[in-house]
Symmetry: D2
Subunit: 333 residues, 4 copies
């Protein structure tokens, strides 16, 4: 059996997924590609697969599943069309920036009974996953404090930021997912603070580029998250779970594992630059899990509820920043 | 020239200081010891120095300076008596738990014109100091985020906790000092949250044992601090300064620098257990700086203002926990 | 332009190369496969390329180059046939176990004027390469000592060992290449000692499984190499160059970059298990260099002379073990 | 009970021992000092102990033990005098450069029945000791390969080198001891090679400054040692034991445990510079063990036989270099 997947949306992340599915995911096959721009044509040609000329056309391709990598504001409509076409669905994060839209989409998926996996790929990073497994396996005991550092090497284009939902719904949303994943507990309260330190244009776009968030979980754990849009030394991605029996923590990888010691000290190369290097393995394992889901061998590792919860936290974070106070998640409706 | 120092208070920290001054601090000499309990007698005998029978008696010893290591509630009165006796003053942290008392003491010291150094020893830890120096030297650029992890291996006795001023004025106060030291900027706002996770008796004593604090600095930097009274893997002391040009961070030392790799993985020993191991070097360098201060070779590295500011932050942190909101430092008077 | 490559020999390493060339090497294309066994059929089908039924047939495929991954004893004959067919040649290590055969092959290649690259992939590992570049860039100064640790996780089948040329010509030959590559200097003398510690059957096959070798280089550098066929904690691959100005050293990668600290100490996962994980990057970069060579954009990074020299060292190592004395390389003819 | 120790010889190492015994060794007391030069006077005054004017005078001081830190060529005579005076003996390494002298000394000590501990302090380094304990505890299984890197930050004065016995009897002798200590097995064969790379004056003094040694142990383990008189990045001291069940290895300490990550990479401070920093703990633990020996609470951790064996290996190493071949230890008589 092979899971045949049509990739919808062939921008930066969609074209990466298309290439992985075509070449490097055992048990998967790229069945076609589609984009509202011309970008799909070249990718389809390079990978030797059909290029759909419309969403309907794409959903008419003989396939088991779709990977929704279109712009965020179209996710829910595409998801609904795919569900009605009976396709298993992989949807990039965030599902939507609008909670009502998310709920609308999830309701249709539930009614259609098709499998859904949301693209929180970092759960599949071997290092972060090992932190979560250490917690789940009891090695850390009860989690008291979870600390997440998540910093990009450089900010995205301002045009992207303007439609991104802001740092909390675009970037920190990965960390909100990670906090839930690692602690195994829902978030009940959010305190967030942010600043514009990297680029004033980010502030002019209504966003912040530097942020600190404190989450209170249902089980009493406290999570701290710090974000920056610009870590000049590379992509800084660390997760730490501290508890009654110990601490598990994931670290970064360097570009090469080498040290040079001289009279002036010891030097190593910078961190791996960005997600394509750091998270390659996670993308492959994410697809392996999706193949298992499509083939009915395993439940969804990142459900619709897992897609919804971080959005609630992100909206609460924005409310916290605006109002200068901690905000309960049940204030977001 | 030798700086002759009388140690006042010979409990755990005072007896350590007495021994260091007697044996391991170049340019210093232990001139005598005093305690309201019997503990001074044995220490004086072991180190071969006079044992005073009263504070007056202790201040009558021919000496240049005193080290105030008595219980916190007596610091200010002892400080005032020593200042009036013309002694240079080293005072353990916190100067007092009462801001009015601190101000009363500092006023007398200023009037007397005697040197004062407050015992925030972690500034002298070579690893943390290197972080501060990297910031001061511009290697980190403008500081955007400062992260401090500070966890004890085991909680102190409940009786101690009851008079300690609580976690923020007793334990986190070191981290408040570190935040000011590393960022070089005053704190203007405090958001604190805490929980009782380690021992219910700590909660019954009115304290928390697990805490997360977010500080906003005058220069826009944001500091996160996380504390626990019990890290079973050892004394966990890390400081990280992240900024526009890079990141400097201090790590822990292991008991021994050894790894054992087997089929099951790679193992190393636990962290150094507690402050006597981890901060030995800092105590020696703290005394070296005090000798320089007493001899007039250098200004105080930790002034009265440096002693006062963290107390304000600590009081603001408690107010933040009680009221469930961020508190400005200027609300504390 | 695309470099079209036919893979000759589709055993473990050949099938890996075929897959990389078909899917992951920019500028390369897999043009066909061939093996004397049935193994080529499945691989050709999976990758969608022609399956040759004989060497002649394989050399008749329209292609720019061949990758020689057949059994070692056939390398030279295949190489000569490919050279005469005008193909650029990639040849797996060792070129041959017989020095006269190597010379015969290299003479034909030189006469034919076709490009040749020998498969010492570890030169392309980013970590080891960074050591060599630090030396070449002067960061280490004059190299005084080079230390190479190279240990496999588990021994190969005894049947393989019996035809492998023994540890020095099969396994250590990579390290001999590394020593030349890192120091940039030829080897003039070899002292080798070996033992059977892992499996008596290896000894019965006339080989050793544990070895230490000391090389003296033309420029005065001394290299130490230690090998084992079985490191239970994983594939242990480290290179260190020590010199007048400093030291550069490459370290291993762990399976995941995670630590778990508990009261018993700090634990991390094992090393990456074997070459497919550790050296993936090196294989890709090796192919990128070969594409550049085929396209005439760069000279061979691993020439015929680079293929010959380590064999001489390997033969000298065996002679050293047999005779219990250091052996000069010019004793091997 | 207090172990009263007279320090004989107050050069660099003797004065360090005197200070440690006077101030930092629980259960020990410095009973007096002696040197053939004037150096003892200042040290005795500073530490407040009697200064002997002759060896006889020193042995007349009421004491339990002596620490022999005189020049190597006098060790045996001093040792014999001390044994006859009934003193427990701590003797710095090497016991002598002349095997017959060693045997003469050990015979007298045995006849006198006084305790003897030889100054191989590195056995007491917590990191190296942890390697030895991992081996002794079976965590490494049977040891197959032991690797020791031992490099000084800078060469000693040429005048010192001239009387030192050369690198193998002066510097490598520590590593020979370490090899026996870690593997728990005697050395049966030595292959050594050396070069003058650091300073031609060292060669003119008949010594080498760069060396590699291969030891074969009775139990089949092979040890490699590499030495340099000049590692510009600091004192490089590492021990690794590799075996059937795993690997234990000790690493260096940095001057401070700090990293600075910038766009150019990650930097840390140099290694601890030399033995006074790196091996402080080992000296203290060495004295603690000697106190236990003097008080009859424990056997000698470094016996006369442990003092003799590394000298045999050192002499064999020199013979190996001169004759260009491996030398059996039983060739040294």
């Amino acid at each position: 059996m092979t899971a045949r997947v049509v990739v919808l949306g062939t921008g930066r992340i969609g074209s990466m997924h298309a290439e992985l599915l075509a070449r490097q995911v055992p048990g998967a096959e790229l069945a076609g590609v589609f984009d509202v721009t011309d970008s799909a044509a070249a990718i389809g040609a390079a990978l030797g697969v059909p290029v759909a000329i419309s969403l309907e056309d794409a959903l008419a391709i003989d396939a088991d599943a779709v990977a929704i990598c279109t712009s965020t504001d179209t996710h829910v409509d595409v998801m609904i069309a795919a569900a009605r076409a009976g396709r298993a669905i992989f949807c990039e994060k965030p599902v939507s920036l609008d909670l009502a839209q998310v709920d609308r989409g999830l309701a249709v998926i539930e009614a259609a009974g098709v499998p859904l996996q949301v693209g929180f790929n970092r759960r599949f990073d071997p290092s972060h996953r090992a932190v979560a497994h250490a917690v789940a396996g009891g090695e850390v005991g009860d989690v008291h404090i979870c600390s997440i550092t998540s910093r990009d090497p450089a900010p995205p284009p301002i045009a992207y930021i303007a439609v991104s939902g802001g740092i909390f719904c675009d970037m920190t949303i990965h960390d909100f997912d990670m906090a839930r994943y690692v602690t195994g507990s829902e978030v009940v309260q959010v305190y967030a603070t942010g600043a514009v330190r990297v680029d004033p244009a980010i502030g002019e776009a209504g966003d912040v580029d530097t942020a600190v968030v404190v989450l209170t979980h249902e089980n009493g754990a406290i999570t701290t998250i710090d974000n920056s849009r610009q870590a000049v030394y590379g992509y800084d991605q660390r997760v730490e779970a501290f508890g009654s029996a110990g601490m598990a923590s994931s670290q970064n990888f360097l570009e090469a594992n080498v040290t040079v010691a001289t009279a002036g000290g010891v030097a190593t190369p910078p961190l791996q630059n960005f997600f394509l290097e750091r998270y390659t393995r996670s993308y492959l394992d994410q697809w392996a899990a999706f193949v298992d889901l499509v083939e009915g061998r395993a439940p969804s590792p990142v459900t619709g509820a897992d897609g919804r919860a971080p959005l609630v936290i992100g909206l609460a974070a924005w409310k916290s920043v605006r109002e200068g106070r901690p905000v309960r998640c049940d204030e977001i409706t």
